[in-house]
Amino acid sequence: MSSPRTVTAKASAKTSRAAKKSASDEGMSRADKVNFISAMMDGLPSKDAPAKTRTEKVARKASANKPLKVEILRKISAPVIVATPSNALSDEARKFAAAIEDKVASGDFDALTPEAVQALMTALCKFYSCNVEAGNKFAVVKDRHSITGTDAMITCGALLKAVDLQVFELGMWQSWSGL
């Protein structure tokens, strides 16, 4: 006994063979064959809906190939770095900084004694704040990739602790001073 699916498949194959036979036997033109196959594939158009004309088909194809509208929404420029003229002390400081960076990269954390680090931090902290208070504001590090967020938080936290300040006091002072 055949299953309903098998019966449907057999019926479908029979219909298809019959359709092919009738199309080849009756001496149809090429256009008629194309229309016949289209009708088999897409179904017959309803009486209400007019068949698509060739003009409509060409128009639809043309709109598909039409160039898309390009609209520039925003331009985001890279930050501009203005170089300032150097001097002997600055050159020396850069060389020293590069030497320290090399030590950090190689994992040699004992290259400087704590006393030497304290002396450097103290001097740089004073030098930077004097410049800012004098109106000579510049970024404390060269760019966003100079130090990690962890580096910044550890150092900021240590500096605040060294002078017994809390984070809320920093926030309050910043809102008052605008610095």
């Binding site: 160039p67 898309l68 509208k69 390009v70 609209e71 520039i72 929404l73 925003r74 331009k75 985001i76 420029s77 890279a78 930050p79 950090v104 990269a105 994992g107 966003r144 990739h145 990690t148 962890t150 580096d151």
Partner: protein
């Protein structure tokens, strides 16, 4: 897919970005180390403007053989971060830095002389 003109190469400096709408798509075009990269501007997390946030080098923690930390360091590869919730994507591939299966749709960028085109 057709080449869409988006600007002149001379107007793109290294590190510059441009957000364009092409048809229904919104695309972010980056110029990084002389190369162009273009990605969908819709973050795969919640649809934020993925290409408009911070660009930042990838951070990695270096370890000694005994697994103690040598600290966090920036690597040479660059990422861009969605400003909404911080989804971070690799500039060269568009993959999320943690989960490589999360990948922004990438568009090809073609330069012809001084003209820059996105294939979209």
């Amino acid at each position: 897919m057709a080449e869409q003109f988006i600007g002149k190469a001379s107007e793109f400096k290294d590190g510059d970005r441009q957000i364009v709408r092409i048809g229904e798509d919104e695309i972010g075009i980056f110029r990084h180390e002389g190369q162009y990269y273009a990605y969908s501007n819709f973050c795969l997390h919640q649809g934020g403007p993925a290409c408009e946030g911070l660009t930042i080098a990838n951070v990695e923690e270096r370890l000694r053989p005994d697994k103690t930390s040598m600290g966090l360091h920036f690597t040479d590869s660059m990422n861009f971060v969605c400003p909404w919730h911080g989804y971070e994507y690799d500039m060269k591939t568009g993959c999320h830095v943690k989960d490589k299966s999360i990948k922004l749709r990438k568009y090809d960028v073609v330069t012809k002389g001084n003209d820059v085109y996105v294939v979209a």
